[in-house]
């Protein structure tokens, strides 16, 4: 008698398309997925604990290493939380510079997303082009603060250094080319029928499911929920800029791809406006050399490229935080993997994992 049974397959932690060291336990019926359990912790470095032993200033380089493809956004999240706690007023110019850098980094991060999605679907060339273009942004950051990945540029009370003329011209140059770059991705990937067939109507995550799981960022917006902290909980003078929030309809892989693709041009719009209206003045507020915020706690959220980056800081009045908890969007978004994969094929797991766009440094913290 023929008997069929399901079997378990360990995808990762060493696997070409798990974006680092994520392990997914798949329960399979042939090629069809019955269950997908993400198993995290292979990159755990205990950053939250490390931060308790450092002063508020010294914590900053560690936030770079959470989501290492969008370090600016993490810096921004941490700094605004500490500023809220210590009641530091950030100068307008610093806020604008922060917005420019955060949005540039969002573009860079979405380029990584497009590249890794393409390579997970087997289009190697589709990976190389976005990575090549991202290099332009990294060059800008390198000119700006001397690092390509771990910037530590946004500081408590402002930014590390003022925008040099050369950096501004580099940003202008990049923005001028960005339209061509996006057109190229559209020609190579978006318009490609194979790419569309792979992504459309797969791994559907409905708005209800997404909200129940606490999904944020482009993933939630792809499911059709208009929720963007840049509009809904404005911080860092985002209210000065005019931009729209791209929304998806179905919440399938295709929507998640398109939402991110459109967000890139929206970010470019914000940068253009910020550069045009860059106020003069200080780029750094007056911050005491030894920062001792008053006793209490604060939770502050900013919109990272992957979702809501939240920092919960508890202060006991000393120079070091008593406890820091970081709400990492990738970690929470990854919980949706099981729902997104059930009933689809092995090839779709890879696509679903890419469209969640987890960064392991952030997932494991």
């Amino acid at each position: 008698m023929i008997q069929t049974e399901s079997y378990k397959l360990s995808m990762g932690p060493v696997h070409p398309s798990t974006h680092g060291v994520l392990q997914v336990w798949l329960t399979l019926d042939g090629e069809r997925i019955l269950r997908a359990d993400p198993c995290m912790g292979y990159l755990h470095r205990g950053i939250e604990k490390l931060l308790e032993k450092r002063t508020y200033f010294q914590c900053l380089p560690y936030t770079d290493r959470l989501d290492y493809v969008s370090a600016m956004n993490n810096n921004l999240g941490y700094c605004s939380a500490v500023e809220k706690l210590a009641q530091i007023e950030v100068p307008k110019r610093a806020q604008y510079i922060r917005v420019i850098m955060a949005e540039l980094n969002r573009i860079a991060s979405h380029m990584i997303f497009i590249g890794s999605l393409a390579v997970d679907l087997g289009a190697t060339t589709g990976m190389i082009y976005p990575f090549r273009d991202r290099e332009r942004i990294l060059d800008i950051f390198n000119e700006l603060c001397g690092a390509r990945m771990t910037y530590s540029y946004i500081r408590i009370g402002g930014v590390k250094s003022d925008l040099a003329v050369k950096v501004i011209s580099m940003i202008d140059d990049f923005l001028a080319k960005l339209t061509d770059m996006i057109d190229e991705y559209n020609d190579l990937l978006t318009g490609n029928e194979i790419f569309q067939y792979r992504l459309k109507n797969t791994s559907i995550l409905t708005a209800k499911q997404a909200m129940e799981l606490g999904i944020t960022g482009p993933m939630l917006r792809a499911s059709g929920v208009s929720y963007d902290l840049r509009k809904d909980n404005t911080y860092c003078s985002y209210e000065d800029f005019d931009f729209s929030i791209p929304l998806g309809e179905k919440g399938d892989n295709w929507d998640r791809y398109i939402v991110r693709l459109k967000e890139m041009s929206e970010s470019a719009k914000i940068i253009k406006q910020a550069l045009a209206g860059l106020p003069t003045g200080e780029f750094m507020a007056k911050v005491p050399k030894v920062l001792k915020p008053p006793k209490g706690e604060v939770y502050d959220v900013t919109e990272g490229p992957r979702g809501e980056v939240g920092y919960h800081i508890v202060s006991d009045g000393s120079a070091k935080p008593y406890r820091v908890h970081i709400r990492r969007p990738s970690f929470i978004n990854l919980q949706a993997l099981d729902i997104m994969c059930r009933g689809y094929l092995v090839g779709d797991v890879v696509a679903a994992m890419s469209t969640i766009d987890p960064i392991m440094g952030e997932v494991d913290c």
Binding site: L121, L189, I194, Y197, G347
Partner: protein, 344 residues
């Protein structure tokens, strides 16, 4: 029949050997060995050239330069890689079924090399001109699926086994549209013999007569040889390397070699069936043949470095629901066409 450049060379060699040995049987035996050796040389040399080509084309498409350090223009890169692979430790998985696992790479090479026996490289330059040539090619080509299944099964690895299962499903669904596409060509040329098919294209290539069959054939041959967009068997972002997951070093190199031998034979088959084989003006036949073959290989590589991979169900749907009906329609249309042509 007047022979091409290759035939003239072979004849000269045969007379030379005959003059030296003085015995016709011995000299014919030597000639057979020489020819077999020549085919093996073609396969291994072609693999080396193709790997270099692939890496260079891939590099150029991706705004890179590709290998350019070892030897002039990096030409010796593949040789260096081969030496590295030979020097590697031979790792055998503990749970693998050793004998099956060990012989699979060697067995895979047999069908890959056997096909070359019936390819007409030039006017008259064909190793054995079987009267069921194209049938033989199809039959032998589909043998390689057995080795994929064997290798995947014997590795005792879930990824390998999944790859093996995919290989079987994929080859089954690619063979049939391909056979029907080829059937249209056979109907037009009126022969299964490879040389006759080439001879029938002396005035007009079959790509002009059977454009639909050409498209169907190209897509299904891509499935047959596991090239992107249908490289599901290997599918490195999904199932790591499919049946080759557990192989390393020289064993893996044999898989690699067979893969490129298959690529070359796919290109040769396309050229023979649709692009007029060695026919062409001015230049000698063998040169025309090589130019066409490398252009087709370039096309395959170009496709590989542009497209993403399809999913297994999409590939099956494409071949059973789209290509097969189209191929059947093409056969009907060809039949009617031939009838009208004869009636006129």
């Amino acid at each position: 029949m007047q022979g091409g450049l290759l035939v003239i060379l072979t004849d000269k060699l045969f007379y030379g050997i005959n003059y030296l040995s003085g015995n016709e049987f011995i000299s014919q035996l030597i000639m057979v060995i020489v020819q077999i050796m020549a085919i093996f040389a073609v396969i291994s040399l072609a693999a080396i050239i193709q790997v270099y080509m692939e890496r260079r084309i891939c590099g150029f498409i991706q705004d890179r330069l590709g290998p350019n350090r070892v030897g002039p223009w990096g030409l010796l890169q593949t040789v260096a890689d081969m030496i590295k692979l030979m020097g590697k430790e031979d790792i055998i998985p503990v749970k693998a079924q050793r004998i099956l696992w060990g012989i699979t790479p060697m067995l895979l090479f047999i069908p890959a090399a056997l096909i070359y026996a019936v390819f007409p490289f030039d006017d008259g330059a064909v190793f054995v001109d079987l009267n069921v040539g194209i049938f033989f090619v199809m039959a032998v080509m589909s043998q390689s699926v057995l080795m994929f299944l064997l290798g995947g099964f014997a590795s005792e690895n879930k990824y390998s086994f999944m790859g093996a299962m995919r290989a079987v499903a994929q080859m089954l669904s690619s063979e049939i549209p391909m056979a029907f596409a080829v059937l249209a060509v056979v109907m037009v040329s009126g022969s299964l013999k490879m040389t006759d098919i080439v001879a029938a294209q002396s005035n007009m290539w079959f790509i002009a007569v059977e454009p639909l069959a050409f498209i169907i054939f190209t897509i299904s041959i891509l499935m047959e040889i596991n090239r992107t967009p249908f490289d599901l068997v290997e599918g490195e972002s999904e199932i790591i390397a499919g049946p080759f997951t557990e192989y390393s070093g020289m064993r893996w190199a044999l898989f690699f070699l067979a893969e490129y031998a298959n690529l070359l034979s796919a290109a040769i088959l396309t050229v023979t069936l649709f692009l007029g084989g060695w026919h062409g003006p001015v230049l000698p036949g063998i040169l025309w043949f090589l130019i066409k073959v490398f252009l087709v290989i370039f096309l395959f590589m170009w496709i590989r470095w542009t497209y993403p991979r399809t999913r297994i169900d999409q590939m099956m749907a494409l071949s059973w629901k789209v290509l097969l009906p189209l191929a059947l329609f093409n056969i009907a249309a060809t039949g009617i066409g031939i009838y009208i042509y004869n009636w006129m």
